[in-house]
C-alpha cells in the first residue's frame, strides 16, 4: 500500500520546496487542461518529460504508473471518433469515424499524459507527510489536510484488516468464482471493512478526546524557501506563462 518508491533520490527536483512543487503542478495542470492548440499540448508534454529526465526517475516504474490511466484513454479512442459529429474520416462497417472525433481523442491523450507525467515527476517524489504539511502551509482548508493525513495513516490499518479477512476466508477454503456465493462473500468482506473502519474511527476519536482534542490539529514542521526554490519557481511560472501566451495569441 502506498509505497513511496519515487521518494528520496536526492536530486535537485526532489529537494525542491514541496510548496513550489504543488503550486507549479496546480498551475501547469490548469493551463494544460484549458489549452486548445496541439503545439501547446505537445510543448507541455515535452516540458513534463524533461522534468522527468531531470529528476532521474526510474523510467520503467514511470511507465507502469502511466499504463492504468492510458487504459481509460484507450476506451476513449474506441468511442470518441465514432460518436463525434463532423467530417467523415474513415468508416468501419456501419460506424463512421470523424475527423473531429479523432482530434478530440488525441487532445485528451496528450493533455492527460502531460499532466500525469508532471504530477509523477513533482508530487510523487515528495513524501506524503511533507505534502500534507506543504498543503497546510499553502492555506489549503484544514479539513482537507486532515482528511489527507488520516487517509494516509489509516489506509495501512484498513489494508491490514482487509488482508486478515482475506486470509480468514482462504483458510476456510474460499476460492473466488463466478457464482452467487462469491459475490455474497465479497459483499460481506466490503461490508465488514466498512463497519470495522467506522468502529475504528469512533475509537480514534475517543483516544483523541482523551488527549484533549478540541478540533484543532497543529503542524510541527517549518519550511524555508532557498534560492534554488525561488529560481525554479520563477522559471516554471515563466514557462507556464509562455504556454498561456501562445494559447492567447491564437485566440486574438
Amino acid at each position: 500500500m502506498l509505497e513511496e518508491e519515487f521518494v528520496s533520490n536526492g536530486c535537485l527536483i526532489h529537494r525542491l520546496d514541496p510548496r513550489v512543487k504543488i503550486v507549479v503542478v496546480f498551475l501547469f495542470s490548469v493551463f494544460v487542461a484549458v489549452s486548445n492548440r496541439f503545439v501547446i499540448m505537445l510543448a507541455a508534454l515535452a516540458l513534463g518529460l524533461s522534468i522527468v529526465l531531470l529528476s532521474r526517475l526510474p523510467i520503467k516504474q514511470l511507465v507502469r504508473r502511466l499504463v492504468p490511466a492510458n487504459m481509460f484513454i484507450l476506451f476513449l479512442w474506441l468511442f470518441l471518433p465514432f460518436t463525434f459529429v463532423g467530417e467523415p474520416l474513415f468508416s468501419a462497417g456501419p460506424l463512421v469515424a470523424t475527423h473531429e472525433g479523432v482530434l478530440c481523442a488525441a487532445q485528451i491523450s496528450i493533455k492527460s499524459n502531460a499532466i500525469m507525467v508532471m504530477l509523477i515527476a513533482l508530487v510523487t517524489s515528495t513524501p506524503i507527510l511533507t505534502l500534507g504539511h506543504a498543503m497546510h502551509e499553502l492555506r489549503v482548508p484544514k479539513k482537507i489536510v486532515h482528511l489527507f493525513f488520516f487517509t494516509y495513516r489509516y489506509i495501512h490499518v484498513i489494508h491490514r484488516e482487509y488482508l486478515r479477512l482475506v486470509s480468514a476466508m482462504k483458510v476456510r477454503g474460499f476460492r473466488p468464482g463466478t457464482n452467487m456465493h462469491t459475490y455474497k462473500t465479497y459483499a460481506y468482506l466490503v461490508g465488514m471493512l466498512l463497519v470495522r473502519s467506522s468502529d475504528r474511527a469512533e475509537r480514534v476519536l475517543n483516544a483523541m478526546l482523551c488527549r484533549g482534542f478540541r478540533g484543532n490539529l497543529y503542524s510541527l514542521s517549518a519550511f524555508s524557501l532557498k534560492p534554488h526554490d525561488v529560481i525554479s519557481l520563477v522559471l516554471m511560472l515563466a514557462l507556464i506563462l509562455a504556454l498561456g501566451v501562445l494559447e492567447w495569441t491564437k485566440m486574438a
Binding site: 494516509y152 495513516r153 475504528r200 475517543n206 482523551c210 488527549r211 484533549g212 482534542f213 510541527l220
Partner: protein, 247 residues
C-alpha cells in the same frame, strides 16, 4: 478538597445498550492516590466500559461520578478530567493517529496550550524516559507492535497525568517488552488502574488485585481453600510446596 486522597469515586453506576443485559450494574469503585490497582474480570465484564465512563466517553444511565473530589456530569467537566487522567487504549493503532511519532506525542501537550517548542521538548523528554530516544521521526504505522504500545504510553504520559488507566497493555507483547513495561510502570510516580488477564504481570506491576464480574466490583475477602494445576521446572519429580520441614 480531595477526601484523603480519594481520586475516583464511582457510585452505583449503571450502563447498558438497549435490548441487552446491563454492562455495568450498580458499580461502585473507590480509587485513592498512590494506589496501583490491578483489575481482573472475564471478557465482557465491563472493565473497558468503566474506563470510558470515567473519561466521559460513555454516559452512564444512572449513578454518580466524582473525580478529584468534584462531581463530573457534563462534557466540560470531563475535559478537566482528561487533563489529569490518561487512558491507554487496548489497540495502539487507535491511539496513534498522527503520521510521525513526534507529532503524536506532541499532540496532547499542544492541546493543553503548550507552545510548539515546549511541546517538542516535552515529547523528546517523554520518549527518552521510556527508552525511545531518537524515535521522533519514525512513521507511526511502521513501528512494531511493542514499539507502538510504548509510544502510545508516551503520548499519554506527555500530558503529565496524575492517574493512568491502562486497558490490557500487555496484549500482543512479547516477554521482553512486557518486562520493560513492568519496569517503566514501577518507575512511574503515578497512581494507576491496570486491566489485564495476565496474573504474573498484575503481580509484578500492581499492589492489589480487584475483580470485576457481571458489571460490578466483587469485594471478596473470604479465604477459600482451593487446588489448582501449575507448571514449573522439575515438576516431574516428587516435591513439596510452601512448607519447610522441621530440621
Amino acid at each position: 478538597m480531595d477526601k484523603n486522597g480519594l481520586i475516583i469515586d464511582l457510585e452505583d453506576i449503571c450502563f447498558g445498550y438497549p435490548g441487552r443485559p446491563r454492562v455495568l450494574d450498580k458499580l461502585s469503585l473507590l480509587f485513592f492516590e498512590g494506589e496501583r490497582m490491578g483489575l481482573m474480570g472475564s471478557n465482557g465484564s465491563g472493565k473497558t466500559t468503566m474506563f470510558h465512563i470515567i473519561m466521559g466517553l460513555l454516559k452512564p444511565s444512572a449513578g454518580r461520578i466524582e473525580v478529584f473530589g468534584r462531581p463530573v456530569k457534563k462534557e466540560k467537566d470531563f475535559r478537566d478530567v482528561r487533563k489529569r487522567i490518561g487512558l491507554l487504549f487496548q489497540d495502539a493503532d487507535d491511539q496513534l493517529f498522527c503520521p510521525t511519532v513526534l507529532e503524536d506525542v506532541a499532540f496532547g501537550p499542544l492541546n493543553l496550550g503548550k507552545s510548539q517548542d515546549e511541546a517538542k521538548a516535552i515529547a523528546g523528554r517523554t520518549l527518552e524516559s521510556l527508552g525511545l530516544a531518537g524515535f521522533q521521526d519514525r512513521i507511526t504505522h511502521k513501528l512494531s507492535g511493542g514499539e507502538k504500545k510504548l509510544v502510545s504510553l508516551a503520548t499519554v504520559l506527555a500530558m503529565e497525568p496524575e492517574v493512568l488507566l491502562l486497558d490490557e497493555p500487555t496484549t500482543g507483547l512479547d516477554d521482553a517488552t512486557e518486562k520493560r513495561l513492568v519496569e517503566i510502570l514501577r518507575g512511574l510516580d503515578i497512581s494507576y488502574i491496570l486491566v489485564s488477564h495476565d496474573m504474573e504481570f498484575l503481580r509484578e506491576a500492581t499492589t492489589g488485585i480487584t475483580c470485576m464480574s457481571n458489571g460490578t466490583i466483587v469485594l471478596d475477602d473470604e479465604r477459600i481453600p482451593h487446588t489448582h494445576i501449575h507448571v514449573h521446572e522439575y515438576g516431574r519429580y516428587v516435591h513439596d510446596h510452601g512448607r519447610k520441614w522441621p530440621a
